[in-house]
Symmetry: C2
Amino acid sequence: KSYKEVLRLQMSRWLVMFLIGVFTGLIACGIDVSIKYASALKYSTIKHYMDECIKTNCNSIPLLLWIAWNTSGVLIAAILVVYVEPVAMGSGIPQIKCYLNGVKIPRVVRLWTLVCKAVGVIGSVVGGLAVGKEGPMIHSGAVVAAGISQGRSTAFNLDFKIFEYFRTDTEKRDFVSGGAAAGVSAAFGAPIGGVLFSLEEGASFWNQALTWRILFTSMISTFTLNVVLSYAKGEPWNLSNPGLINFGEFSNLSYDGFEIPIFILIGAMGGLFGALFNHINYKLSVFRKQYLSTLKWPNVLEAVIVASMSAVAAFILIFTISNCRSLGEDENENPLQLYCEDGQYNSMATLWFQTPEESVKSLFHNHPGTYKPVTLLLFFTVYFLLASWTYGLSVPSGLFIPCLLTGAAWGRLVGILLSLIFPDQPWADPGKYALIGAAAQLGGVVRMTISLTAILVEATGDITFGLPIMIVLMVAKWTGDLFNEGLYDIHIRLMSVPILQWEPPPITSNILASDVMSHPVNTLRTIERVGRVVDMLKNEPHDGFPVVEDDSENDGDHFGSFRGLILRSQLIVLLKMKIFCEAESEQTVRNRFSKLKLKHFREAYPRFPSIEHIHISAHERDCLIDLTPYMNPSPYCVKDSASLPRIFRLFRGLGLRHIIVINNHCQVVGIVTRKDLARFRVWHHRGRMGLEELQISQSVRSTR
Amino acid sequence: KSYKEVLRLQMSRWLVMFLIGVFTGLIACGIDVSIKYASALKYSTIKHYMDECIKTNCNSIPLLLWIAWNTSGVLIAAILVVYVEPVAMGSGIPQIKCYLNGVKIPRVVRLWTLVCKAVGVIGSVVGGLAVGKEGPMIHSGAVVAAGISQGRSTAFNLDFKIFEYFRTDTEKRDFVSGGAAAGVSAAFGAPIGGVLFSLEEGASFWNQALTWRILFTSMISTFTLNVVLSYAKGEPWNLSNPGLINFGEFSNLSYDGFEIPIFILIGAMGGLFGALFNHINYKLSVFRKQYLSTLKWPNVLEAVIVASMSAVAAFILIFTISNCRSLGEDENENPLQLYCEDGQYNSMATLWFQTPEESVKSLFHNHPGTYKPVTLLLFFTVYFLLASWTYGLSVPSGLFIPCLLTGAAWGRLVGILLSLIFPDQPWADPGKYALIGAAAQLGGVVRMTISLTAILVEATGDITFGLPIMIVLMVAKWTGDLFNEGLYDIHIRLMSVPILQWEPPPITSNILASDVMSHPVNTLRTIERVGRVVDMLKNEPHDGFPVVEDDSENDGDHFGSFRGLILRSQLIVLLKMKIFCEAESEQTVRNRFSKLKLKHFREAYPRFPSIEHIHISAHERDCLIDLTPYMNPSPYCVKDSASLPRIFRLFRGLGLRHIIVINNHCQVVGIVTRKDLARFRVWHHRGRMGLEELQISQSVRSTR
């Protein structure tokens, strides 16, 4: 590689990141505009019939209409997920977390997944579910990144023959972390939060150049969204729409030192509510996994039922609570009069009669008296239950907005109580406490740390509120962690993937490599019979095989002298290109060797043919294959006396998926894979702790 | 370790981080308040004589007074640095960068360094040098962290016997990165910027829990500063002083899309000016290193000369440029009338007649007509030259503020020109362009990326300006990188320390471990004669020695079968505790072994006695020492066929300081140290590139 080529690669990296930012921003715009128009249509039609029917007492018509809107939106979303692409379900954040951690989840970054996700999320938001469109943006950004960086789409069988250098797991993964950051950035107008998100959730190794590129793509993504949305609103250069949701401008966002204890209390409440939310959702998810996971239409049915329930619950609340307010005090697109006097509207109705994003903003900014305590209490209860039922349905759905909305509701309630206890104190502002409550609830559910702080600070647009937000998130996480894990981690655990935590489990330093390793190991000799290679590939699911010499004295304790490591994918390409020859004609191998270039490996990436699709004749089975030129002659290895924490740090720091264990004589004695490590997990309960071993699903493969 | 102990450790980590935040904040307050009072006294005395002398024509009196003030302040600073603690020189950021990278620089985190730094920076700022107090805060925070986390002070011979578990390189380093972040946070009111700083400059491995603690200490530090400074200003709960410098509130900070090309141009200018600044400073530093580094009083003299020059230059400019403005338009503590009419003041004089921080704020916020273009041009030229002369003097000095100030001066000039070309356009605001110019200049000099973006955004207090700041920093870095490196990197290179870059140098994948490794290697046998150990420690400067078996066939190619690694510090403790015995009495060793605990190693940390201070009698030299129980039996090792990038990633990802190279038979063939790797550095010039080997100083040792 000459310097020019190095420079060219650098430039392509920036170009790819730029494109990722632009396309992620555009997709976010598309979703936003579609939802805006569809929701406006939905609410104006229903409002029309409601206004009519309040006079003529035909209230069942708007209710049925509402149910019809909801079910049809959700039906589209659920059908896309259940029948087309199941991996497009939920927010996609657990899946992206796994991907960035180095676990390969099939089809997670394919084009069809993106289509189902984008169309589906429009359906579920318009369908009135307690979901947001922000989480799915992160998944969308990741798919965009994977697609653009590879310069081709297997879905359309297109190969632009560009960016071929990036067709490796590591490069692709770097771009995907950029895409995820761009998604966060477009969703919340939070470029730095986006970078921190992809670092916190994924990258174990911080690389200055990569991080700078990720920030670049995040900036481009929010800028694209900003320009396009501002243009769509008719104020082309105003640039006041940095994200799908922003919290609006707080007129008076300051705090006094004595409020800090209150923030701490709210944080603790957030932790409790979050833990409760996670518990309910966990129980439901276990139930779903047990009874529904293999079925198709019942999943669709469940989604439709929840959609109708949402409409019915909203309808009942609107008609039972009459919380009348004068028109004109606050912005309001679809004010419903219902049983209020002329010139007034029902503020409970507006909470349901707009997208959740808009409700969040109303709770943050509307005048102090807008909502009665009972309105907020009932709204919170119902929405909390709906939201915890909804996440995990077979529709694309974001978790951030429902958490913010429930949190804003009870936070505002706390604010109202404070203003009753301390009347005429400017600091006891319900809107401000709605923000604090929203942060607490979100922190209690997802348990993210620094990235969530940055996201919320950036979405608020005001740095001065950083400390309160951080205190609240910290307390919420601590409180919640006493009871259970964050919701994403719960769902990752339900997926049974071998994800590695941040640090090696404590009290494991007495566990040695020889205790965790898998053995016996199937090894290949440096010059191996083709038939043996084929059989091994067919019988063993592993991704890499140690290459050894003189395994004659294979006595069960060790399996030959360690020479190198060869990957399954390499073996498959070798077999496919028929890089082998009959015994004693080494010259042929050399000739064939010169034919085989890195290009062939890259072309096959990432969908290497399965071994079943490669035809090897009975005659060819007796040929010999020389692995020395292709194997990695110096893969990472540890001695059998290495401790678990040491191996763990190697895996985490370098992103390994397997490591060879050797003895004092450099003989292979075992192999440690990601699954062997991820099995170990610490439980602690009432002051005692111990190790438990987890079940790891066999269907996922580790990547990098 | 039981669960309770794990929990207790966690709690102590948070407690230590809390204390680091509080003390760093308090030190920042102390420095700030001292400088404020001393400067106020200085300027009011000089102003008094100036106002007098303008009438009586005794202008030499205020000039001499000014020179006296400057020289006495700088004299204190220079004497502290030159005669007490040379490592307190400059901003300390290069030193902290090295420390976090894993290079040990003697005395860099000692208490005396902190004292010299803190007192010295007051001296140099009050002494009117073109320096800021922000950079030194980062160093101060690091020292605070190192001190508190170790629970003792060797300077006072105090040992509180607490936090003993943290007395290891890794733990200490984690706390120091927290301290550096707390320093940034206190300096700029930028907690997230602080976290990003310590990640960008130091931590190669991102750890969620650690990052969260670092953010916590950053928040505590800025909060402490905020509370104390607000209290000092008489508004206890107002909390409007998050940092030593904040950029004040911009009334109208918005931008239009068409300004982006202008930002790009300004970024390029910043890159050019920055590269020029670095070039001048580099030449001066080389000169200083060559002629002044071994001398003492000439260094003091140089600092005093620069201090007087600063006063003279300011004096000349004030008296030659008469830029009169009406009083009362802008805030102004010491308005100088000079030759202006009554009711007016000279705005050139105010630029010099306040601390640089205040001048930055004036350039950002004063009314558009405050400064004439010629004022700004002359001020910029003079200050630019002064600043590039000043950094590297033997005084504690920050680089951020002089860069921001020069940048703000030419940025404001650009803004004025724009407002002349596009009259009556609200976007062409000189104050806004001053901010952009300041960012460009700073970015062009230091070449930091994401952390600088976050710091500037947080100091501005407004998220909306994130994109312009980022664009400017990005272009400035790219432009500057065409010419030379960032100033901190230049100074690190001048220090000749083996710092590792982010990524392995390109085009080095054909360099193998066998090419870079040092050999022959001095190895120890598992059971070794004490005399040989002592001799080896005396003759070899290395930190770790491979332990081998049957090195009988040591034929120069390899040096015995690899069994483990033992550290110099461990050997020294073993010798000091006399854990050896006469041949054939193994029982004694066993008995002594049980006496030796981890505690003994921790107590000696980090100032292990030198081998010269350990007395070993001639008789004892014949004793045997069994290394097996103490050595690390499974240290990281690579095969001789491993490539340089692979070894590099191991070092960077795991923070190694040496790795053993073995051959196919597990025999030690060499050792690769940090210095072996850091030697390789890529040069590129006019489209060609190659590898160069650097000289690495022998006086620094690598850590971790």
